[in-house]
Symmetry: C2
Subunit: 198 residues, 2 copies
C-alpha cells in the first residue's frame, strides 16, 4: 500500500490527501512532527532530499517529494489534469506560483501563529504583505473564471486551495475577496471533497 | 515570433534561454529591469500574475510565467523531459525543490551581493546557510549519478544548473562539492550549451 509521510495540519500534505480522496486511492499515513524537526534525517533521509512532508512512498519502495509533484503524478491521466499541452503548462505556472509567491507567505504566517513561533511583528507583517500580494493576484485571475485553468477543477485549484482556505489562521482577512470566496465554495462542492482535518 | 521578457543576469531567465538554445527555437527578448520593479505592472500586467521574469509570450499572444513551467512546456516531447510517468514526477520534484529550497537562498544571496542590496550580515548568513543545505542535498544525490533524473540530461538539470553554477557570486564556496563540480562539467558539454551571458 502507498504510504504518505504526513502532517495533518500541513496544507502541503492536505493537497495530496484531497486528491487521493477524489481518486479513491487508499493509503496509510505516517505522522511527522512539523515543529520538532530533529528526527527528520532519520525518518525522511534517503526518501526526500528536502526532508519535508509530504513525502510519498509507493508500494515498490520508490519515493517522491514535493506536494505539487506528487499531485501531478497521481492526477496525470485523470480529469484533475488537462490534456492540452498549454493548459498543462498553465497548471504548472500556478503550482510554481503557489510554492514561490503564496506558500512562503500565507503558510508561514499561519504556521507562526498556530504554533506561537512568530519571530517579530515586523517579520509577520512582511509575510502578510507578501500573502496579500498573492491573494490579490488570485482574485484578479478568478474574476469571471470558475477555476484557475481552463474551466475545470484541477490540481492547480487543489494546490492553491490548500493554504488559501485557512488563510484566516495566518491573520489574513478573506472578506475582501469575492471571487476567491466563490471559488472556495466551488472547490468544496467537488465530488469526494474532504476537509483538511480529515 | 516567441517573445521572452528577460533579464540577462537572472538564472530563472537563463533556464529558458538555455533550453531554447538546445532546441534551436528562435525568439526575441524584451529586457526587464530586475532592480527597479516600478514599471512591472505596466510591462507584465495581464501576462504574468507574479509580475516576474521570465514571462513568455507565444506568437498568438498567449502568455506563460514561471521559469520551470516554461521549460516544461518546451521540453515535453523532446529528449529534455523523460517519458516515464515516475521520472517526469521526479523532474518536477527537483524543479519544485529548486524554487522552494534553492532559489530563495542561492539566488537571493547572489542578487544581494551583485546589486549591493544586502539588508544585513545576519540576513545574508541565513540565506547562505539555507543555500548550503540545498547544495548539500544536491551533492548527496549526485554522488554516483550523472544527472538528476534517470541517467539523462533534462530540464531538472537545467533548472538546478542556472543558479548553482554562479553560486560563487552569492558567496558560496563550491570547492567542497566534488559531485556538483563534475555535474557542472557534464552540463557544459551538452550540445547547444550557451553561457548565462549569451
Amino acid at each position: 500500500m502507498i504510504r504518505l509521510f504526513n502532517s495533518q495540519v500541513s496544507g502541503n500534505c492536505y493537497k495530496v490527501r484531497l486528491l487521493l480522496a477524489h481518486l479513491g486511492i487508499p493509503y496509510e499515513r505516517v505522522e511527522v512532527d512539523v515543529v520538532d524537526r530533529s528526527r527528520r534525517p532519520e525518518i525522511l533521509g534517503g526518501k526526500n532530499p528536502a526532508l519535508r512532508v509530504p513525502t510519498l512512498e509507493l508500494d515498490d519502495g520508490r519515493t517522491l517529494g514535493e506536494s505539487n509533484a506528487i499531485t501531478w503524478y497521481f492526477a496525470d491521466g485523470s480529469s484533475y489534469l488537462p490534456t492540452d499541452p498549454f493548459e498543462r503548462a498553465q497548471v504548472l505556472q500556478w503550482l510554481f506560483f503557489e510554492q514561490y509567491s503564496h506558500e512562503p507567505f500565507v503558510a508561514v504566517a499561519r504556521f507562526w501563529l498556530l504554533f506561537d513561533k512568530t519571530p517579530s511583528e515586523e517579520a509577520l507583517a512582511d509575510r502578510q504583505a507578501g500573502g496579500y500580494r498573492a491573494l490579490d493576484a488570485m482574485e484578479a485571475h478568478l474574476a469571471g473564471r470558475d477555476f484557475f485553468v481552463g474551466s475545470r477543477y484541477s490540481i492547480a485549484d487543489i494546490g492553491l486551495y490548500a493554504y488559501t482556505h485557512v488563510a484566516d489562521e495566518g491573520g489574513f482577512d478573506l472578506g475582501r475577496y469575492d471571487a476567491i470566496a466563490s471559488w472556495i465554495d466551488r472547490v468544496r462542492e467537488q465530488p469526494g471533497h474532504v476537509q483538511i482535518t480529515a
